[in-house]
Symmetry: C2
Subunit: 234 residues, 2 copies
């Protein structure tokens, strides 16, 4: 009998923001897989480090950070094959995912390769989006507001159109796109409505008005923008 | 010295999708507050029921389900006052919140009334949005896709415009708006791209193609719509 595949959301970084279910499944895991950079560094593994059993087998999926599709596809092909080997040997495999597996996560590439052949369960996790709102003390969206989540790499003109048409906005994966995003928000007169958050829930977390954001931002940074205040608030 | 206020996200309904932090804070709580319907039923309390200490004091905030602003505002005023009384007496107060406190949650109304006077911490939770994607086996958003979250009560014409302009879409709080939403998605030829999910993560959970959705939907139901598949998936 084949093993079962789990895609497990670990939350935004603070290990205490892991769910009880994630904790149970990881602490009982025989095989733990996770994405890592070329040098082996894995943010997902670091979140779960204290929960992974010492005797667990570990599968590292090295994801090349290239713009082209080919190298990453090949890495997911290989990772999926490594995982499939364990599943076919009857072992369950737990895949560690930063945040939530299906919210801008790489797990979906393994899911697409494996879920039709193996029993698969996805365990949702706390996203960085609601974590940023929590640490910034800024409600994300209320009542009938539409919430638009925009990835930082989006083209400048498209981004400007999307933000202009939106109500509550979260811009994710800010990183090296910070200068472009500031320009867009300035053009829309929204800089005063914007809060910058980096590494939410980690010890190095920072929260600032966008006007006071640093010149360069880490990949794990985000900008929250609201256009008006819910009139029901007070 | 005043007590500290906590707004705690409990996740979508399965108590195991609570975070370790929520579990720790609730299991050590002296005073636990939560919103409830007029008859006293509280979904938030039901999620945390097995974690609340038997000796904890409980504050029920009865929220009237009216369209007008006044009655709900009065209920939040009273709830905030009850909580403030405990905080001023030096007791910490834990407010239980379905999903995430700042994601379409009622906690923001207490936060607006109390956070300037009392130390406050918001603990994010797993949202129903990523939970629906997980149980439906449908990735929400990948790479540079914009994700638009639309509340079901939105006006029909506005909803149609928003969905037409969007890429990945989640429609929340479907409930009695199901007929209107089906009409909108039919008009946009998106019914085949839509998945209906009710009570994600609860024992009564249901997942269906929208075409097979029931005639009436509970408040805790959602529709996921994708317009195309990420070409990187395979």
């Amino acid at each position: 009998m084949n093993g079962k595949l789990y895609g497990i959301g670990l939350g935004p970084g603070d290990p205490e923001l892991m769910t009880l279910k994630a904790y149970r499944l990881i602490s009982g895991a025989e095989v733990v897989a996770y994405p890592a950079l070329k040098d082996g560094e894995s943010f997902a593994r670091s979140i779960a480090a204290d929960v992974i059993p010492v005797e667990a087998l570990e599968v590292t999926i090295h994801i090349p950070m290239t713009v082209e599709r080919g190298p990453a596809q090949a890495a997911y092909d290989k990772g999926a094959q490594d995982i499939a080997d364990y599943l076919e040997a009857g072992r369950d495999v737990v895949v560690l995912c930063e945040g939530d597996p299906f919210f801008y996560g790489s797990f979906m590439y393994l899911f697409a390769r494996l879920a039709d052949r193996f029993e698969t369960e996805v365990v949702p996790g706390v996203t960085s989006v609601t974590t940023c709102a929590a640490v910034a003390g800024r409600p994300l969206s209320a009542r009938n507001e539409v919430l638009t989540i925009i990835p930082g790499p989006l083209d400048e003109a498209v981004m400007q159109d999307r933000i202009a048409a939106a109500e509550a906005v979260v811009i994710m994966k800010v990183g090296r796109h910070l200068t472009k995003i500031r320009k867009v928000l300035d053009a829309l007169n929204l800089t005063e409505n914007a809060t910058y958050v980096e590494r939410a829930s980690l010890p190095s977390q920072a929260v600032r008005p966008l006007a006071d954001a640093p010149a360069s931002a880490p990949y794990f940074s985000m900008i929250l923008v609201t256009k008006g205040q819910d009139p029901w608030l007070n």
